[in-house]
Subunit: 340 residues, 2 copies
DNA sequence: ATGAAAGCGCTAACAC
DNA sequence: GTGTTAGCGCTTTCAT
């Protein structure tokens, strides 16, 4: 083990072994390279023999871009986000690029993190955490680095976005509960506001009012299971005024469901019907069977990368926003149509 | 928006504006740089004004290493793995490096993926998917690239490893159930074998036999919730011969728990006691309250990065293996000591 | 189709 | 403490 660690071979070494020039080696390792098939083969053999790997740092220095793509994500340990990030990473890898993963838990983190990516000449950035400072977005535009915001506040100009429509989400939730004969509503959302999460809660409440039906708003400490579970007291105190509850995330919904049946002794769905949002895997588990609204995160990932690629092609094109498709999923926390 | 996109400023531009040489600019942006405080400040101001970012590609070309660290992970959409990867990524970022995330779902994926990392001059690789081909490990050693295997088969030589001790895991599971007066055992593990997961199931079974107590082995189709749930028929068929079940993962355990109570009408913990492994967040949810064994993944991540860093310091040092601490967690799927 | 030469932006010796 | 010089390994005109 002490033996090795001689410095890795360069294109020069390969060139010599193959009896060609370094340019030819370079061409042998680039896709559209003008090179005859047998020379390419010979070069590849020499490379194989030497254990040669193209040095992407050097290549990137020349071509002015690495094929690194930054992913900025918060709460990666959350089911929906984990699925999302996995899908995005796979999509990026599928395009021959490599994802650099930045975890940003607070709004303060994301600025410096994004900023540091400039040093890597990233091909693009996909953001699914707090919205980055607009100064950075501007710098991205200046430098020609595409930024795609996933489910982020549209206040920021100049970045492409893929998101669900909070309006539609709120409406779908209302429709699901209303179809199950709910006429008095409640909605549970996290105390600290977030564009998509609070947005659909607001939209839901608006919708109820517009239809002339009462709605009580309950705030959770956070958007986790325990946030929902912690709303038990609030639910107990107000349960007399509603029979249907929309929770802005599945995690919240599952917490609220346990709060209702375990802590408050409220029967679900007989006395209280619940609808969540996201359709995380756990929503389908036997002990929950949560009715919810599905976001197609795989499609979302595909669109995000598509937007990024398109903007690499045409950096000057005006920012786009693409909406995701939302699907109603009826399970056993509502009395409506149920899949077996 | 059509305006910008002039090529980014280089250290040369900063040098000119600050009235210093390019080396001085370089020193101003390196940590141990021999440079006076006010010159450094002046340089930083000039850089700020120009919107300058150090080009890490060029720096890496010179220093012969990017500060990229490859993470190879499978099943990122799984709760335990998501937590793990988040912890690893944060640990890497905390050390000023950047994680490159590679998702490899099959053993065939991991080879090429690892191989491609050589082109990025990664500072190290952390692997928590299928075990990589040993040829690659050798190449890593040759090139001086540290590899840390997390919970992987120890058959591979030449890489550092951090893992739980399957023997200990099996013993702890036995102890937990035995302490709750279980005398006839069963163990559920996935059909396709995996070093740590199958390893602890084997160890558990061995332990039962060594103590002279009967144990039935049940195989699940995979290691997910639905794998456990799908074992309902097997459980129903064999339930007469055991009153305690160890499931090799929490997901499996929660599936088996639902299989028992929902599909087979077996009361837990009265008739059947269950112990899982991992202590994922969901194990603590109200509807499950699963007794389990905790892996400290944050500590695991810290150790993995520590091992990598240590080997960067001293590339020739012999491979190490560090074991994780395991903790018994009693909840409501056992009749033993229970936290409120 | 292939080779020669220039240069990407930076750091590291080496002088001073 | 600062400037000068020489590459790091690659791609890319421009010849041929």
């Amino acid at each position: 083990m002490v033996d090795g660690m001689r410095k890795p071979p360069t294109s020069f070494d390969v060139a010599r072994l193959a009896g060609v020039s370094r340019s030819t080696v370079s061409r042998a390792f680039t896709d559209g390279g003008k090179i005859s098939t047998d020379v390419r083969k010979k070069v590849h053999e020499a490379a194989e023999q030497l254990g040669y790997h193209v040095n992407y740092l050097a290549r990137g220095l020349q071509t002015r871009h690495s094929n690194l793509v930054g992913i900025v994500a918060s709460r990666l340990d959350t089911p929906i986000r984990a699925v999302q990030v996995k899908a995005i990473a796979q999509e990026i890898i599928g395009h021959g690029m490599r994802p650099m993963l930045l975890t940003a838990e607070s709004a303060d983190d994301v600025g410096p993190l994004l900023n540091s990516m400039f040093s890597y000449n990233v091909a693009g950035m996909l953001v699914t955490s707090d919205t980055p400072p607009s100064a950075i977005i501007e710098e991205c535009n200046r430098l020609g680095v595409p930024v795609v915001l996933i489910n982020r506040d549209p206040v920021i100009e100049g970045a492409d976005r893929v998101q669900m429509d909070p309006e539609e989400a709120g409406r779908l939730a209302f429709e699901m509960l209303h179809a199950c004969r709910v006429r008095r509503f409640a909605v549970l959302s996290p105390r600290t506001r977030t564009y998509t999460v609070s947005g659909r809660a607001d939209a839901f409440a608006d919708h109820c009012r517009r239809e002339g039906m009462p709605v009580v708003r309950i705030l959770a400490e956070n958007q986790s299971y325990f946030g929902g579970r912690g709303a038990a007291a609030e639910i107990a105190a107000t349960i007399d005024s509603f029979e249907g509850l929309f929770c802005a995330t599945d995690l919240l919904a599952m917490g609220a469901l346990d709060a209702a049946r375990l802590d408050c002794g409220v029967a679900v769905p007989e006395r209280l019907q619940i609808v969540g949002f996201d359709d995380i895997e756990q929503a389908g588990w036997g002990a929950y069977q949560l009715s919810t609204i599905r976001q197609d995160v795989v499609r979302q990932a595909r669109i995000a990368v598509e937007l990024m690629l398109a903007r690499i092609e045409e950096p000057a094109r005006p920012p786009m926003v693409r909406f995701q498709t939302l699907t109603k999923v009826f399970r056993h926390t509502t009395t409506g149509p149920v899949r077996p």
